[in-house]
């Protein structure tokens, strides 16, 4: 078999059967071997059973998007097989126990590589080793060095008892040994390349960005898929000098975070759908107090509980219009891990500078996908201190030209810092002076001018000029980019928005050059298209939408773009 550029491996089985461990192990083996790696998972809202799957792509050059194409499929049970069946093509090789998994599926029989998994596992010490044996088989197929495999197994199981580690080494060896018996067309060879990258997922990118942004306090309430950011910061709170507090509910979380910002500690909350709904009163409070806040909102399919562990871009307009009354905000929508890091850091900076709420809007696909990227360039990070030392005459809401009143904090200077959710005087005290009301509204809304100036431009990817411009935002970025690349059509370009509100003033110029516009969104009502229309009057009737709870795949998008671009 000839060398391949890009292989996609799908591992599928019930929750609680070690898929996650196998995924971690494979990713670390592939990385150590010098492959470029991308991994993403889709899973059910349950702890054990059901059918979850992980897709791992390995390649000689960076891969960062979900594909349907499945080169190697490893279903751990019959349910799992049915679950991912739709991804099988004639080129897919399937590894598993023919008898138990596939007997009725004569259709695929010549693609199946029969592995007596149960027996191999039994020999090792029980069913729980199946996942590691599978990893061994794959490592064997890819001709990965045993030393690498062993060192990765050690890394993962080292903390456990020696016996457990030994068993897992045995398991992986057994798998590798077995793969040597395999018919040769299952063998795969691919170029590897050494790099100095780090591998991480979306949750970690946001978490690290928060650290870089000087986050000192996070208060949140667990909610899938937003929890990883809370977990990450909890786990490294000591290292990074921050407090992570699980609040009694989301209302407490957002109000605690506002208290912390008020007192001088940069803070954030991380939440999803319903949790964010509960925070909207606090969001409005931030608007009125002009106390900064950073909100990480990881979207999942709604309404209500919806599909808690799946993905969607359904809360954009809610993030934009959430909270009663009128006040400015910023919404970042990172689509790459680099952007997740950079924009989260920037969110803290802008929140502090403009004293407004800043959103990082992600989704389950973004949070749970990982790949490797060059180490973040920390030299580029500037953390300015916007807090002023107060004196006895200090006025928290001093009326200024640009709407920004210098922000003091209690305990730094001799002044008093009074913030108020009522309409207030410059000193922060409750007022019913209606002329002052008008000045205060103007002051708050005035910031919009600067926010528009500061807005992050969308990335233009592809030919400088094009006939068809595809527009996307957030987590779909890599998928759309790869799909367009595959189309190999010089007349199609991509505009990926990483800030959706406010829109940079150049947006119109960028968009109006193209004859045809196509929008791609992971929702049912084309919410960003609605924003483009209400903000810029741009109409995009050609919409590629998906709202099944899954991310787009590259192939699917390729097809749909081809059709749409006609």
């Amino acid at each position: 078999m000839k060398k391949r550029e890009d292989i996609s491996i799908v591992l599928c089985g019930p929750a609680g059967q070690g898929i996650k461990t196998a995924e971690n192990l494979m990713v670390s083996i592939f990385r150590k071997s010098g492959y470029a790696v991308f991994a993403t998972k889709e899973y059910m809202s349950r702890i054990r059973g059901g059918s979850n799957s992980t897709t791992i792509r390995i390649s000689s050059r960076p891969v960062r998007a979900l594909v349907d194409r499945t080169d190697l499929l490893i279903p751990l049970d019959r349910e799992a097989f049915k679950h991912v069946q739709y991804r099988i093509s004639p080129a897919t090789k399937i590894i598993g126990e023919k008898e138990t998994l596939f007997q009725q599926d004569a259709q695929w029989s010549d693609q199946i590589l029969d592995v007596p998994l149960a027996e191999l596992a039994k020999e090792t010490g029980g069913k729980i080793y199946s996942n590691i044996i599978v990893v061994g088989i794959i490592a064997g197929l890819l001709k990965i060095k045993k030393t690498i495999v062993h060192s990765c197994v050690k890394e993962i199981f080292n903390a456990k008892e020696k016996e457990i580690l030994d068993k897992n080494i045995q398991a992986v060896d057994r798998g590798m040994a077995f793969s040597s018996h395999l018919p040769s067309d299952f063998k795969i060879e691919m170029q590897t390349q050494k790099d100095n990258d780090i591998i991480l997922n979306g949750g970690e990118a946001i978490g690290l960005g928060a650290v870089a942004g000087g986050c000192r306090f996070i208060a949140s309430y667990p909610m899938t898929p937003s929890t990883p950011v809370l977990t990450f910061l909890s786990q490294h709170g000591e290292t990074f000098d921050l407090i992570a507090e699980q609040a009694e509910d989301e209302i407490a979380a957002v109000n605690m975070a506002l208290g912390a910002w008020y007192a001088g500690a940069r803070s954030m909350v991380t939440t999803s759908g319903g949790g964010f709904a509960l925070m909207t009163e606090g969001l409005s409070l931030a608007g009125m107090l002009e106390t900064p806040i950073v909100i990480h909102l990881a979207q999942r399919p709604g309404p209500a509980t919806g599909l808690p562990t799946r993905t969607e871009q359904g809360d954009l307009l809610f993030a934009l219009h959430g909270g009663h009354g009128e006040f400015p905000r910023i919404i970042f929508t990172p689509g790459t891990l680099e952007d997740g890091f950079v924009l989260t850091q920037k969110a803290f900076d802008l929140a502090d500078r403009f004293q407004i709420p800043v959103f990082i809007l992600t989704d389950q696909y973004y949070i749970d996908s990982y790949y490797h990227i060059p180490k973040f360039d920390l030299l580029k990070i500037k953390n300015k201190d916007y807090i002023v030392k107060t004196d006895a005459k200090y006025k928290r809401y001093a009326l200024t030209e640009n709407g920004i009143s210098p922000r003091g904090i209690p305990g730094y200077g001799n002044g008093l810092v009074v913030v108020d959710s009522d309409e207030h005087t410059e000193e922060g005290h409750i007022t019913e002076d209606l002329d002052l009301r008008v000045s205060m509204v103007n002051k708050r809304l005035k910031k919009m001018d600067a926010l528009i100036k500061e807005a992050v431009l969308p990335d233009w990817i592809g030919p400088k000029s094009c006939e068809t411009l595809v527009i996307c935002w957030g987590s779909t970025a890599h998928i759309v980019a790869e799909a367009i690349e595959k189309l190999k059509d010089k007349k199609i370009a991509l505009l990926y928005f990483k800030q959706v509100y406010p829109l940079p003033s150049k947006t119109m110029n960028l968009i109006k050059k193209s004859k045809k516009l196509i929008i791609v969104e992971n929702n049912a009502t084309a919410q960003f298209a609605q924003i483009l229309k209400s903000q810029l009057g741009i109409d995009i009737p050609t919409r590629i939408l998906k709202y099944s709870g899954q991310a787009f795949s590259v192939e699917e998008l390729e097809q749909r773009l081809k059709k749409a671009a006609l």
């Binding site: 407090i243 912390a260 108020d420």
Partner: protein, 287 residues
């Protein structure tokens, strides 16, 4: 009268003449002054309601937030800067109604703050609906046939939750109120002070006279470290005892339990991001 640093001078106070809020306001200012706490070191967090307007009438830092949400920002403030004296203050509706969940969980969390609740047994600012502490049969524009819900007993609940300091006082005895407020502010950990006060505009039942007649002081010999005795006394309804019901000697304040303050006392608000920690971490990820 001695000059009080918390005085605002000539300001327009939005409370009704004769309202118990004035007493609490006066006593609180005196308490802080007598404890020799600088206004620059005090933050009052409040929610929304008549009681919750109090920070606008005092010269100190203030976070006047949302209805029902005085406790969470107070916790956030204390976590960000444990050197501040933080008071969370609001009405009974605010604290026990809308904010009930924060009430019970803040008692569990035990930040070192003082929680003063102006308990007039009614919603004042919204014009007289029942509050959680309104008594059975209390007639209002919404409870037209009188309150049918069991009155909320904040003292008993706080004791049931192992609250670290649980007290009740009344505007009928300002001097005793001051003593209790002093103890509460000096107490290390969460301190609840429920303060009875008449609402002259909307509560024609629980008047100053009513509070006078229906309360009495816990005896001098009363031992506030006995939880069961405290609960018994808190459950009395014939006449309502005033005083410090319960002090739990075992609770450690929230901030003291936080890892970041275990070795280093510098407030979070004064710490800045150390990019070299981050760099080291990232380098480790790449190994």
């Amino acid at each position: 009268m001695k000059k009080n640093r918390y005085d605002m001078g000539e300001i327009d106070i939005a409370w009704c003449p004769g309202c118990g809020n004035f007493t609490i306001h006066k006593v609180l200012k005196e308490t802080l002054e007598e404890l020799e706490i600088r206004p620059q070191d005090v933050v009052i967090c409040s929610g929304i309601g008549q009681a919750a307007k109090i920070p606008h009438y005092m010269k100190c830092h203030a976070f006047n937030g949302l209805h029902g949400r005085a406790l969470p920002p107070a916790t956030g403030i204390k976590a960000a800067n444990p050197e501040l004296v933080v008071i969370a203050e609001s009405g009974d509706g605010d604290m026990y109604g809308e904010g009930g969940n924060h009430f019970i969980h803040t008692i569990r969390r035990n930040p070192n703050i003082t929680n003063i609740v102006h308990n007039n047994m009614v919603y004042g600012l919204t014009k007289g609906q029942a509050s959680p502490t309104s008594q059975h049969g209390f007639v209002t524009s919404v409870q037209v046939n009188g309150v049918i819900l069991e009155p909320f007993n904040p003292i008993a609940v706080a004791i049931a939750l192992n609250g670290s300091f649980v007290a009740r006082t009344s505007t009928t005895e300002p001097e005793k109120m001051k003593t209790i407020l002093k103890r509460a502010i000096q107490h290390s950990g969460y301190a609840l002070v429920d303060v009875f006060h008449p609402c002259v505009s909307f509560n024609k039942i629980n008047t100053f006279k009513w509070f006078k007649e229906n309360t009495y002081d816990l005896e001098e010999t009363y031992n506030p470290e006995n939880k069961f005795e405290a609960f018994k006394r808190a459950s009395e309804t014939e006449k309502l005892p005033l005083g410090i019901f319960y002090v739990n000697p075992d609770r450690i304040p929230f901030e003291e339990n936080l890892t970041v303050y275990k070795k280093n006392k510098k407030p979070m608000s004064a710490r800045r991001v150390e990019l070299n920690h981050l760099k080291k971490f990232i380098n480790q990820m790449g190994k």
